[in-house]
Symmetry: C2
Subunit: 151 residues, 2 copies
């Protein structure tokens, strides 16, 4: 469905405006499907992203700055996100001995197990959307997006 139909616009829209709307709308569709999966695991998208970042550290602890800079949405309140994950026993948090300003966050066994359980569902979700596109088209889409946001 074209973006014009979705927002039910009857006047013509410039290609630039159309692109912004398309990006916003598409992200929304993907994020909502994402949310749907995570909801049954009582995780928000941001909490899930933090867990993934921590798993990517492969045992090496991450401090708050590192987590923040790797998040997709930089605006989230990392402290309180980690608080929530702590309460659920999905991460550990301790003061860094070398620099006591920093926190060392690691993912727990429970956190890793949760991610392992989620992995196939997330992967299916990711593949579902690309389904109508050939690998070349997907590659093309990625390149265009990258180029698009580079100002």
């Amino acid at each position: 469905m074209k973006i014009e139909e979705i927002i039910k616009s009857n006047s013509p829209i410039s290609i630039e405006k159309r692109t912004v709307l398309n990006i916003m709308f598409t992200q929304n569709v993907v994020a909502e499907a994402f949310n749907e999966i995570l909801k049954s695991f009582d995780l928000s998208v941001e909490q899930f992203n933090v867990l993934r970042i921590l798993r990517g550290q492969k045992g090496k602890p991450a401090n708050m700055c590192v987590i923040q800079e790797r998040m997709i949405a930089k605006t989230s309140n990392t402290t309180r996100l980690v608080d929530k994950l702590l309460l659920k026993g999905l991460v550990n948090r301790e003061v860094c001995e070398q620099n006591r300003r920093k926190m060392e966050i690691t993912i727990t066994e429970k956190g890793l197990n949760l991610l392992a359980e989620l992995d196939p569902k997330i992967e299916a979700h990711e593949k579902l959307f690309g389904y109508n596109l050939t690998p070349e088209e997907l590659e093309n889409l990625n390149n265009l997006l990258e180029k698009y946001r580079t100002i």
Copy 2:
């Protein structure tokens, strides 16, 4: 900058996962720039979108359902969004005489003036991002996004 560098991933990412991340991240970049513009006008993106929807009605009032279905992010609380716009005098709200369950929302002169003032700034923002892409590439990006989200 490639999405792998942004999230500082050292392990390979599937093209499907890469696409999801790219869409999420790009939307975030665009939305933040958007927000930056609207902030000085004391408007949130959603409030702005509601105003645009109302302007698109060309005088014809819109009820809450209509507004909701045309919004990019369907999840917002339309009642309270409109409340805020009412407080600022940017919209009018009255009960529909034909069906008293419905509300008739219209944009005020003040709302139209605000949009008129914003228009060139928003347009510049939209054009800024597409700048590195030819019109054909933009067209292509739109088509790919549309195809991508169609499941």
